[in-house]
């Protein structure tokens, strides 16, 4: 596995986690829990953004692995 594809795997799993958290943030009945979930979703979004940018750089450096 190349670095880029490893990074893609992590990105995918983080995005999946974000989605699950969003689901729980919607269906929980407790406001405090909801606030914690929404904050985590926001922070995960920042991390995901940075990782995506890094992924683009990697793809630019190693175009032969693009899309893998």
């Amino acid at each position: 596995m190349t670095v880029a594809s490893q990074l893609k795997k992590t990105l995918a799993s983080l995005k999946g986690n974000q989605g699950t958290l969003e689901l729980y943030a919607l269906q929980t009945r407790n406001e405090e829990t909801k606030a914690v979930y929404t904050e985590t979703i926001k922070d995960l979004g920042i991390i995901i953004n940075d990782l995506e940018r890094r992924e683009q750089i990697l793809e630019f450096e190693e175009p032969q692995y693009k899309g893998n």
Binding site: V3, Q6, L7, K9, T10, S13, L14, G16, N17, T20, L21, Y24, L26, Q27, T28, R29, N30, E32, T33, V36, Y37, E39, T40, D43, L44, I46, I47, D50, L51, R54, I57
Partner: protein, 286 residues
């Protein structure tokens, strides 16, 4: 008029009358009421029984007596609601039986209670050793409530200094194979959502005896057929494990990469993710 018709009509009318009067008297548990209240209940019951069997020479005398024994306690209740002084006079005050771990013998004597009885009551409150009891009080109903010494109390999350997620009460949405629509709509879910959840669990509605939704929105099911093993909802635990995996990945990347800015970015986010996980832990792992 024939005697049996008389008994029948008076019984039925008294039945309805008592139903109304008991509702008026409030919902308090009759076994946990003050001794005086208990007596007035019994007297009212006996008068009603006598009237219903036509054993009184004049039925109006019965109504007068019944009125006094039912309405006077209700009037006293209202008085007690309005004034603390009246409350203490009518219902009596609570008596402290154990203070700072020491039995108050005078209060015991005043309440006509023997040491044996006190010990029995303490035991029923799970205080087998007198040394564990800091404070015990006899309420005006005769119940004894016990305050255990703080070092003998069961451990709570607060004592451990641990944060626990606040949980709301679970709502029952399926009972005996039927959907309960009112609690379901209180939760903000609908029939389709429940259908999807049941489909995910792989059970049909008529096989479910009890279905409860906890405060995080997960559905717990109890089936009629106990031989069927149901997967319990572990989505939150898996979510936590997956976050842990991602965090470890970020740490690995930060070690592997040669690029300085990327390294800084990876390690910053690895730290951030670790912080997030610590915050989420009480909510995701119970």
């Amino acid at each position: 008029m024939q005697a049996w018709i008389q008994v029948l009509t008076s019984s039925i009318s008294l039945f309805v009358l008592m139903l109304v009067l008991v509702r008026l008297a409030g919902k308090r548990n009759i076994a946990r009421t003050t001794p005086f209240k208990f007596i007035s209940y019994i007297v009212a019951a006996i008068i009603t029984a006598l009237m219903s069997l036509n054993l009184l020479p004049n039925i109006y005398l019965g109504f007068i007596a019944l009125g006094v024994w039912v309405l006077l306690p209700i009037a006293l209740d209202y008085l007690a609601l309005k004034s603390k002084w009246a409350h203490d006079v009518i219902n009596g005050k609570q008596a402290v039986l154990v203070r700072r771990g020491k039995i108050m013998e005078e209060s015991l004597f005043r309440e006509r209670m023997t040491g044996e009885e006190l010990l029995r009551e303490l035991r029923s409150k799970n205080a087998f050793a007198l040394a564990d009891v800091e404070f015990a009080v006899m309420e005006d109903t005769g119940d004894i409530n016990v305050f255990i010494k703080s070092d003998r109390k069961p451990l709570s999350a607060h004592d451990l200094g641990r944060k626990v997620a606040p949980l709301a009460e679970p709502q029952t949405v399926i009972l005996d194979g039927n959907i309960l629509y009112e609690p379901l709509s209180t939760l903000g879910f609908n029939r389709e959502w429940l259908g999807t959840q049941l489909e995910t669990a792989g059970v049909s509605l008529d096989n479910v005896f009890v279905g409860q939704v906890d405060s995080s929105g997960d559905l717990y099911l109890d089936l009629f057929d106990d031989s069927v093993q149901l997967p319990q909802p572990t989505v939150k635990e898996m979510l936590y494990a997956s976050l842990q995996q991602s965090q470890a990945d970020l740490v690995t990347y930060s070690l592997e990469t040669q690029d300085k800015t990327a390294q800084a970015m990876y390690s910053r986010h690895a730290k951030k993710l670790a912080e997030l996980m610590e915050m989420l832990q009480p909510y995701l792992l119970r």
